[in-house]
Every structure is written in structure tokens, then in C-alpha cells.
């Protein structure tokens, strides 16, 4: 356990913002950076996935802080090439990305749209237009929880790189327990 990393560094959260409107994207980037967050941008889902993949695959990618994954993803829904919903599903399907909180930022504000988004499982749904305050309010809570979890898990398992190994360990243990229980059941 490397506690020196943890105690020394408290990096600002990384937020991935995906939106096809450049003006809007720059506006959101401004707001987030003014609040001290680090910002990744992408103009569509495909682009965003590239960046993410590069991050967890440890590849060099331009404009990205390569040794970490975003702590939060903000995504528009109506985007070319890959829309927000698809992007979301791809994200949650990925074990490396599944844990990242996901907030939809979208002009699609009908109740059906909102319901759909929620059913998908997004953590939050922000309808445009919104003010910077609205945005910050949404993300702060999520980031705090992320921070808490990181603290807890790092306490538990050290750095986050170990979290994967911890998970594996738990899985193996669970498998052993099931095998034993099953054998016992067969005997009985």
C-alpha cells in the first residue's frame, strides 16, 4: 500500500464532457475549469470512447491525462456518429468504465426522454438550457461520492490499481465458497 501517493496527491477531479456543439462545449469547459476541475472534451460518443479506451489501455492520447480515467462523464444525447444513449451503454458495459458517474446533458426534456434516460441507469439528467449553478450542483454531489469511495477503497485496498486485484480476489473467494457449499449440498 502506497499511502504516500494518497496523502500527498489530491488531484482535482477529471470530467469528460461530450457534446457536438462546440460553443456549448467551450462554455461548459469554462465553467468546470473555473471551478478547478480538469476537463476532457469530445464532440461525439465515438471520439469520447477513443479517449477513454486510451486511458484505461494506457496509451498516449492527445489532450488526455493518460494515467487516469475521468471521475465523471457529462454527455449530450443528440450527437452524430454515436449518440448519448449508445455512448452510455458502451460505457457501462465496459468494466473499466462502469463505475464512472454519468450525467446526461440534453435538450431532450420530454418526460419520456427523461424516463428513458433514467431507466438506462444514468446517474442524473440535466436539461438544457441550464445555468452554471445547475451544472455545478449536479456534479458536486457525484464527485464527493467518488472521492469518498476512493478514500474508502484505497483505505481498504491501497491504490486504485489494486482495486481490480481486490475484485478478482473476492471473485475467487466467492467461487471457492460456492464450490464448497455445492459439494456439501451434494453430499447431503
Amino acid at each position: 500500500m502506497d499511502s504516500t501517493e494518497q496523502t500527498n496527491q489530491k488531484p482535482s477531479p477529471l470530467i469528460l464532457v461530450v457534446d457536438d456543439n462546440l460553443e456549448f462545449l467551450s462554455g461548459v469547459e469554462l465553467t468546470l475549469s473555473m471551478e478547478g476541475y480538469q476537463v476532457w472534451t469530445a464532440t461525439n460518443g465515438q471520439d469520447a470512447l477513443y479517449k477513454l479506451r486510451a486511458a484505461f489501455q494506457g496509451k498516449e492520447e492527445e489532450g488526455a491525462n493518460l494515467d487516469r480515467l475521468p471521475d465523471l462523464i457529462l454527455a449530450d444525447i443528440m450527437m452524430p456518429l454515436m449518440d448519448g444513449h449508445n455512448f452510455y451503454e458502451r460505457v457501462v458495459a465496459n468494466p473499466y468504465l462502469n463505475h464512472i458517474p454519468f450525467i446526461f446533458l440534453t435538450a431532450k426534456s420530454s418526460p419520456e426522454d427523461i424516463r428513458y434516460g433514467k431507466e438506462l441507469g444514468a446517474d442524473d439528467y440535466l436539461t438544457k438550457p441550464f445555468s452554471p449553478e445547475d451544472l455545478l450542483a449536479s456534479i458536486r454531489g457525484k464527485l464527493r461520492r467518488v472521492e469518498q469511495r476512493r478514500t474508502l477503497t484505497s483505505q481498504l485496498f491501497g491504490d486504485s490499481s489494486k482495486s481490480g486485484g481486490v475484485v478478482l480476489l473476492i471473485v475467487i473467494l466467492a467461487a471457492l465458497i460456492i464450490a464448497v457449499l455445492g459439494g456439501l449440498y451434494l453430499f447431503l
Binding site: D20, N21, L22, E23, F24, S26, G27, V28, L30, T31, M34, T43, M78, P80, A107, K108, S109, S110, K128, P129, F130, S131, P132, E133, L135
Partner: protein, 925 residues
């Protein structure tokens, strides 16, 4: 002895004598000393024979001609006369003395010749004659007497003074003497003998007389029989006349015998005259004068007329000295107590008709009268039969046709025939003008009088119309009422006329008239006959009229029916046309939920055939389909109006059809439900359109929200971080806000433009616009924009006008969008070219072409269609200002003006937009 003699009561004398001859008792013979029994017997036999012959022969004797006698009769002897023949006067005186005191009259002759003569002329019953006379003796006289027919029946007693031998006596008896008396006479004996012979002779004479009477009677009867046979064997009056007249002529041997028969129908006297020489003639005498009394005619005129005829035809009749024909007898012929004619007998001799033949004549007259009457009756019967047949014919004819004209023509013809008229007329009352119109006529001149009209008050016809009388005119010249127009018109002069009213249901509708040129032609019988004819006519006329009316009415009805049918057909066709032209499906149910009718669209939508399902309820087979279920449900729905929405699977499984159903109950005027009308509308496209609109709307809101979200965010950023932001950054934000606001404004405008396009009627607010001038204006407006980007904006302006009939604002918008787009997407230093060309094709219609070319980046081929979609953005980053609606608007405007839009573009080669619009022709199309 006397009582042994047969008593001759009712037996004929000859029989008595015959019996006597056969059964004479011997004692009787003894009583007759001078006569031998055989002689007596012979005498008796002879006498009997004679008498028998007399009695029988009279019956078979044929009629003999001869003056004053055609009957076989011997002349009767004088029963009270006795001729005495003796040459000795004293003997005569003696005999005379014998007869004194008796009622016998005596005639005397002194010799045989004288006796013969006297015997012939005086015809005594008995001759008492001496035998011994000079010259002819008694025997000679006897012979002579017996050979003469006239005198052979005279009784003869021979007287002799001398006793003669029985040989002499026998001789005498054989010669035919009846008795012998010897002189001297014993008075008693003499008288007894005489009386005996007298008795015998008288009896003989009586017998003869009776025989004669019988014979005569028989001959008469025979003659009458023959007459009757001859007369009744013929039914021709002429033949009857001829045979009668001949027989009469022979019977009477008169100079001229005439039969006169009155023919009242024809008002003629038929006269047949015959003379014994064989000449005969027949004549017909017209009775021109009005007869008051039939009897008078016969009594007064027949004779005169016959005489005239005889005198005129004396040569033919073989008569001479006609002027001396004075004796005229008339025997009336009576039948059924009516005098129908006469037998007129003309002769010089007054006594041609006397007591003897008068009865015969009367009998003959009776027979002829009967025969004539029979003939006439037969003729009448024939005529009646003819009439009946005619009537039947009329009846049949009249009822076999309903053609009024035919009926009338037939009627007048038949009436003419039956009534034996010359002319028959039928007049009918014209109700409209109240005139009597001569509808039909037959006979000479009928064509000339047909159609003649006269007022109903005029003439006999008028009279009959008014009174309904059956009118018989026997002489029109004496009838004041007669109005002789028929004569005037046709030249036919009538003297007799019969007028009967034609009645229909008690109403007099006209008259029928029969005319004849003879006076007194028609009689009561004809009037009676006319009655049925006329009633048949009346009925037939009425029938024909009714039939005519019915036909007219039928035609009218047919006409009305066909009119109405046509109307109904037209209405039905209209309704069907409406139904057919309805884009929606229509199904009509009756009050019992049976299908009444449906249109084609319904048949397609519900997949059924009306012809198979009409009149039936919706069956379980149909209820499989959700649409049918809906229809069925609606038809059973109690609500006055109901709607339902049904999604029906269609060919594409993912896109069902949406059908909107609408039902309405139909009520009649009383308010009863008489059915339900269900319409089905395919609103799939409507829904689709609505969905598209919805999508558009959501697209719009999305598009609107995009700039808004930037504005909100950046404004928020500005407010939140303004102190920390460098002024450069602040300006940037403000610019961004402004740009976005402008973009929003443009968007709103475009959206409005598009929605206006959507809502506008195609040809509304179009007018003649000069395209060249318009392009000029737009170019001028946009030139600064091009110049700002240093783009070469080239406008190839054609000379003259190019007039198009368009919506000005729309075309202006189109041009603006195209040119603006071109400028926007052309990089700095590029070129935008605008051209307007008029295109003439082989056809009459001409188009105008608008070309906008730019040197921009070009559009890949796969996006050529998408480019015109709403909100399509080449640049998805929205960096370039653009609503994405510009080209969509262009496309819509082009379509609205029935033009064509083309895009030629490749990446790196710029883009050319080409629009063709129809040119305006002078009519303003």
C-alpha cells in the same frame, strides 16, 4: 117377308141392291110374276154396279175442261119430271090422268126422236115409253138413251099393250129398261111400279148426286191439296204466285186471274196475272202514297191496279176486247185476320165466279194466303236470323276491339246491313263544345258527311239527344224537325229515317241514324233492332273511351314512372358517385344491424364484397379482423355518435395502419332509429404527418434550445466568473451570446417561414413577377455579404423581362436562401454565379431556369438528398451559422410552384443548384 129384307139404313144403295141381288128370297120373286128371278137378280146387280161405279168413279175422275165445268159431274136429272112417250094420244092422256094430283110434272113426246130431244134437254128422271111406235120404237129409244151419257141414267119404264114374251121383257131389261108395265093399266099397280122405279131412280139420282157432290168435293180437295202442296213446297213467293195463278187460271178458266199480295215492308203490291192461254206476268206496284189503311189499298186499289196492268199487257196475256172485261171478282186473302192480298178474277162472264167455285176460291185464297204468309214469315224469320247474326257479329266485333274508330266503323256498317238502310250515321256529343259530331257514317257520300258538326239543339238528332226518344220518321219531307244537311253535303236524299239515342250509363252521348230514300222504309221492328245495336255501341264506345283514357293514363304513368325512375337513378348515381369518391370507407347498417350498403373503399378496407354481404349481419368470419370487430361494435353501440381508433396490421409489420372509425345513428323524421352509418378513415398518413410534425416540433424545440443553452450557460458564466475572467474572455463570451441570439432569431424566422409554407394554399397570393428584377434586388441586398468575404458575385442578367406567376415572398425567400447559402459556404476569394435562362422545349410550355453556382467545398453525392432535409447541417458543430432550414425552404417553395430542383455537386468542385419553374403564359397559369 118384308122383315127379311135388309133394311137399307145407312148403307149405300148399291150395296143394298147387291145384297138383294144375292139373297133375294124366292117368295119375292114369286111376287113379281112378270119378272124372272134371274132377271130381277140381273137387274139388281146391274143397278148395284152402276151405283157403285157412280159412287167410286166420281172420286177418280180427272178434272175436265169445259165451259163452266171442270169437275166430273153428270148433269143432275130433274127428279120431278117424267117424260111420257107414246104415239097414241089417248094413252098419254091416260097417264096424265094417273099423275093427276101428284107433284110430278109431265112432259110429252109422241115419237122417239122427240122423246130423245126432250130427254136431252129436260133430263127427266123417268121416261115412260110405249114400245110400239112408228119409226124408232121403244127399244130403239131405249138404246139411244142408254148410249148417251147425258141420258143414260134416266129411268125407263116400257109400256106395252100386248103381253110380251119374257124374252122381250128380258131384252128390254137387258137393254136397260127398269120396268115393264102392261096395258091396260091398273092404276095402283101402275103407280106402284112407277113409284118403285121413281124411288129407285130418285135414290139413284140422289146417290149420283151425292157421288157427284163427293166427287166434286174430292176434286176440290184434291185441287186444294195440290195447290197447297205446290204452294208450300216453295218458299219463293214468286213461285208460289206463279203456281197458284196457273192453277186458279185453269180452274176458273177466266180471262185473267190475278194474285195480289201486299208487301208492307217494301210498300209494294206484288201482282201476278195469268190467263188460260198461258200468258202470265208479274208486276210490282209501288205504293207511293202514304197508307192509312192496308185494307183500303187492297179493297180500293188492287182491282184498279190489276185492271190497269191487264189492259196494258193484254197482248201478253192473250186477251182481246179488253174493254169488255167487266166482270171483276175479288176474293180476299186473309191471314191472321189481316187482309194481305186478293185474288182478282176478270172475265167477260159474270158468272165465272159463282156459288160452286166461290168456296173453293175462298179456300184457295186461304191456302195461298197462308203460304204467302209463311213465306213472309220465313223471310221475316230469315231476316230476324240475319239480324241476330248481324247483332252477334256486331257484338263480337265490338267487343273484340277496343279501337274506337274501328268500333264505330263496324257499327255503322253492320247497322246499315241489319236495318237495310242506305246510309247509317253515328253522331256523338262532343262534351267540350256541346256539338254533335258526325263520327262515323256508311253508305254513299259517307266520306262527305263525316266530321260534320251541328248544335245539339238542331234537327231530329238534336231532338233525340234531348229527349232520348226512339224516333221513326216515315217521310222526312213531312217532318218539321228534319234538318237536311246530309242531303246538302252528300247529295243523298233520304225520305225515311230512324233515329235512336246512344246511351252510356244512362247518359245520352249521341245518336245513331239509319236513312233510306224510300218512304216508310223502316218500321217498329227496325227500331227494336236498332236498340241492341246502339246499346252495344254505347258500351263499346264507353269501353273504348275508358280504354283510351286508361292508355293515356298508363302512358302518363309510364312517363311519370320513367321520369321518376330517371330521377331516382340520377339520385342514386349521384349518391354512388359521392360514395365512390369518398376517400373514407362507408358502411351503412340498418336497424337490425344488417349491412345495407357500403362503398368501394369500405370493401377494400374491410376486405369483403358488398354483393355477398348485403342484407346480412357481421358474421363470425369477419369478426376475426379487428377492424370488423370495431365496425360491429360501433353498429351495436347505443350512442348517437361514437368514435374508435383501431390499429390494423398492414403489409409492413412494423407500421400498422391507423384507422379512425366514426359511427352515427340515423333517424327518420319520427325519430326512430333506422340504421347506423359508419365511416372508416385511414389516418395512418395523418398520424404519420402528425408524428412528423411532432418530430419537427421536437426538432424545432431542440434547435431552439441549442442556442439558448449556450446563451444561458455563457451568460451564467459571465455573471459567475466575470471578475476572474480577462476582458478578452468576457468579450468572447458576450459575442458568443450575441451570435447565438442572432442564430436563434434566424431560426425562428425560418421556422415561421416554413410553417407558413406548410400552411399556405398553393396558388394563393400569386402574381406576375418579373424574375430578373427580383434576382436583381436579392443580389443587390446580398452583395455586401459577398464583398465582406471577397467573393465574386456574378449576376448574368438577361435582357428583357422574364415573367413568372409566383408567390413573390416565397420566391424571394428561395433566392435569398440559395444565394446566401452559396456565399456562406464559399470560402474567401471564391465565386458565386447566378444565372437566369428561359428554356424553350418542343412543347408549348416554357420554363425558366435559375442557376446558382458556388466554388465551395461541394457536397458528397450520398448527401445530395439529405441536404434538403429540415435541420440538416453540413457542419454538425454548428460553427457556421445556419438553421439547417434554408434548403428545406427552397425545396418546399420549388414544389409548391410545381418546379424542379436539381443539385450538381462533388467534393472539391463546388455546387450548382438548378431550379426550373414554369413560365407564366398570358392566361396567368
Amino acid at each position: 117377308m118384308a122383315d127379311e129384307l135388309p133394311q137399307p139404313k145407312d148403307q149405300p144403295v148399291h150395296e143394298v141392291l147387291a145384297r138383294l141381288a144375292t139373297a133375294m128370297p124366292p117368295e119375292f120373286v114369286d111376287q113379281l110374276p112378270d119378272v124372272e128371278a134371274a132377271n130381277v137378280k140381273a137387274i139388281l146387280e146391274h143397278a148395284a154396279t152402276l151405283l157403285r161405279q157412280q159412287a167410286e168413279g166420281a172420286n177418280t175422275r180427272p178434272p175436265e175442261g169445259g165451259q163452266n165445268s171442270s169437275l166430273p159431274q153428270s148433269v143432275p136429272l130433274d127428279l120431278n119430271k117424267i117424260l111420257i112417250v107414246d104415239d097414241v094420244t089417248e094413252n098419254i092422256v091416260l097417264v096424265e090422268f094417273m099423275f093427276k094430283g101428284t107433284d110430278i110434272s109431265l112432259s110429252v113426246a109422241s115419237n122417239a126422236e122427240e122423246a130423245l130431244t126432250k130427254a136431252r134437254t129436260e133430263l127427266p128422271i123417268l121416261i115412260i115409253s110405249d114400245i110400239a111406235m112408228p119409226g124408232m120404237n121403244g127399244f130403239d129409244l131405249l138404246k139411244a138413251l142408254k148410249t148417251d151419257e147425258l141420258t143414260k141414267n134416266i129411268g125407263i119404264i116400257l109400256v106395252t099393250a100386248h103381253y110380251r114374251s119374257s124374252k122381250e121383257i128380258s131384252e128390254g131389261l137387258q137393254l136397260g129398261a127398269d120396268d115393264y108395265i102392261n096395258r091396260p093399266f091398273v092404276r095402283d099397280e101402275f103407280m106402284s111400279r112407277v113409284e118403285a122405279v121413281l124411288r129407285l131412280k130418285r135414290a139413284e139420282a140422289e146417290t149420283q148426286r151425292q157421288a157427284r157432290v163427293l166427287a166434286r168435293r174430292n176434286e176440290e180437295l184434291d185441287w186444294l191439296n195440290e195447290l197447297a202442296l205446290a204452294v208450300n213446297s216453295s218458299l219463293d213467293i214468286q213461285e208460289i204466285f206463279t203456281s197458284s195463278i196457273h192453277r186458279l187460271s185453269r180452274l176458273l178458266a177466266a180471262r185473267a186471274v190475278a194474285l195480289v199480295l201486299l208487301n208492307p215492308e217494301k210498300q209494294q203490291l206484288m201482282v201476278s196475272i195469268a190467263s188460260p192461254t198461258g200468258g202470265n206476268l208479274s208486276a210490282v206496284v209501288d205504293l207511293r202514297d202514304r197508307w192509312a189503311n192496308l185494307d183500303n189499298i187492297i179493297r180500293e186499289q188492287a182491282v184498279t191496279k190489276v185492271l190497269n196492268i191487264v189492259k196494258e199487257n193484254q197482248v201478253l196475256l192473250g186477251l182481246t176486247a179488253v174493254s169488255e172485261l167487266r166482270s171483276v171478282h175479288q176474293v180476299p186473302m186473309i191471314s191472321k185476320d189481316q187482309l194481305i192480298g186478293a185474288i182478282v178474277i176478270i172475265d167477260y162472264d159474270q158468272h165465272v165466279v159463282d156459288g160452286t167455285n166461290k168456296d173453293l176460291l175462298y179456300s184457295a185464297a186461304g191456302i195461298i194466303a197462308v203460304a204467302a204468309e209463311n213465306t213472309r214469315l220465313l223471310e221475316n224469320a230469315q231476316a230476324l236470323v240475319d239480324d241476330l247474326i248481324a247483332l252477334n257479329d256486331i257484338g263480337r266485333t265490338l267487343t273484340s276491339t277496343l279501337d274506337l274508330d274501328q268500333i264505330l266503323k263496324q257499327t255503322v256498317l253492320l247497322a246499315q246491313r241489319s236495318l237495310r238502310a242506305d246510309v247509317t250515321l253515328l253522331r256523338l256529343v262532343d262534351r267540350a263544345t256541346l256539338a254533335l259530331e258526325l263520327i262515323a257514317a256508311s253508305g254513299p257520300g259517307s266520306e262527305l258527311v263525316t266530321g260534320y258538326r251541328m248544335p245539339t239543339e238542331c234537327g231530329i238528332a238534336g231532338y233525340v239527344v234531348q229527349t232520348g226518344e226512339f224516333y221513326l220518321s216515315t217521310d222526312l219531307t213531312r217532318d218539321d224537325r228534319y234538318y237536311p244537311h246530309v242531303a246538302e253535303l252528300s247529295g243523298y236524299e233520304a225520305r225515311s229515317m230512324l233515329t235512336v239515342p246512344v246511351q252510356v250509363k244512362g247518359e245520352i252521348v249521341g245518336v245513331m241514324q239509319a236513312l233510306h230514300q224510300a218512304v216508310n222504309w223502316f218500321n217498329e221492328n227496325d227500331l227494336h233492332l236498332a236498340g241492341p245495336i246502339v246499346s252495344s255501341v254505347g258500351i263499346a264506345v264507353e269501353n273504348a273511351r275508358l280504354f283510351d283514357q286508361i292508355q293515356k293514363f298508363n302512358r302518363h304513368l309510364e312517363h311519370m314512372v320513367s321520369e321518376r325512375t330517371q330521377q331516382l337513378t340520377e339520385e342514386q348515381e349521384r349518391t354512388e358517385a359521392i360514395l365512390r369518391s369518398m376517400a373514407d370507407a362507408l358502411v351503412v347498417f340498418d336497424a337490425e344491424n344488417r349491412i345495407l350498403t357500403a362503398n368501394r373503399v369500405a370493401e377494400e378496407m374491410l376486405d369483403f364484397r358488398l354483393s355477398e354481404m348485403v342484407g346480412q349481419k357481421v358474421g363470425s368470419q369477419e369478426l376475426v379482423s379487428p377492424l370488423w370487430r370495431c365496425v360491429d361494435q360501433l353498429s351495436n353501440n347505443v350512442d348517437i355518435v361514437a368514435t374508435a381508433l383501431v390499429d390494423v396490421p398492414s403489409a409492413q409489420p412494423d407500421s400498422p395502419l391507423s384507422i379512425q372509425a366514426y359511427s352515427a345513428r340515423v333517424r327518420n323524421q319520427i325519430g326512430q332509429v333506422i340504421g347506423t352509418v359508419i365511416t372508416l378513415r385511414d389516418i395512418t398518413t395523418l398520424k404519420e404527418v402528425e408524428r412528423m410534425k411532432g418530430r419537427f416540433l421536437s426538432g424545432v424545440t431542440h434547435e431552439l434550445k441549442t442556442p439558448l443553452s449556450v446563451i444561458q450557460l455563457q451568460a451564467g458564466n459571465l455573471l459567475r466568473y466575470q471578475e476572474r475572467l480577462p476582458p478578452q474572455k468576457r468579450n468572447q463570451l458576450l459575442n458568443s451570446i450575441q451570435t447565438q441570439a442572432q442564430h436563434l432569431e434566424q431560426l425562428i424566422e425560418d421556422i415561421l417561414a416554413l410553417s407558413r409554407l406548410d400552411g399556405e394554399v398553393a396558388s394563393a397570393s400569386r402574381r406576375m413577377v418579373d424574375l430578373v428584377e427580383l434576382v436583381d434586388r436579392v443580389i443587390t441586398h446580398l452583395r455586401p455579404l459577398a464583398e465582406a468575404k471577397q467573393i465574386d458575385l456574378v449576376w448574368s442578367k438577361p435582357g428583357g423581362k422574364v415573367t413568372i406567376w409566383v408567390n413573390l415572398s416565397q420566391i424571394e425567400q428561395l433566392l435569398r436562401n440559395l444565394i446566401d447559402n452559396a456565399i456562406k459556404f464559399t470560402p474567401s476569394g471564391g465565386k458565386v454565379e447566378v444565372q437566369v435562362l428561359v428554356e424553350s422545349t418542343a412543347q408549348k410550355a416554357e420554363n425558366v431556369r435559375i442557376r446558382v453556382t458556388d466554388t465551395g467545398p461541394g457536397i458528397p453525392a450520398e448527401y445530395h438528398d439529405q441536404v434538403f432535409d429540415r435541420f440538416y447541417r453540413l457542419d454538425p458543430s454548428h460553427t457556421t451559422a445556419g438553421t439547417g432550414l434554408g434548403l428545406a425552404i427552397v425545396k418546399e417553395v420549388v414544389e409548391a410552384h410545381h418546379g424542379k430542383l436539381y443539385l450538381a455537386s462533388q467534393p472539391g468542385q463546388g455546387s450548382t443548384f438548378l431550379i426550373t419553374l414554369p413560365l407564366a403564359n398570358h392566361s396567368g397559369e
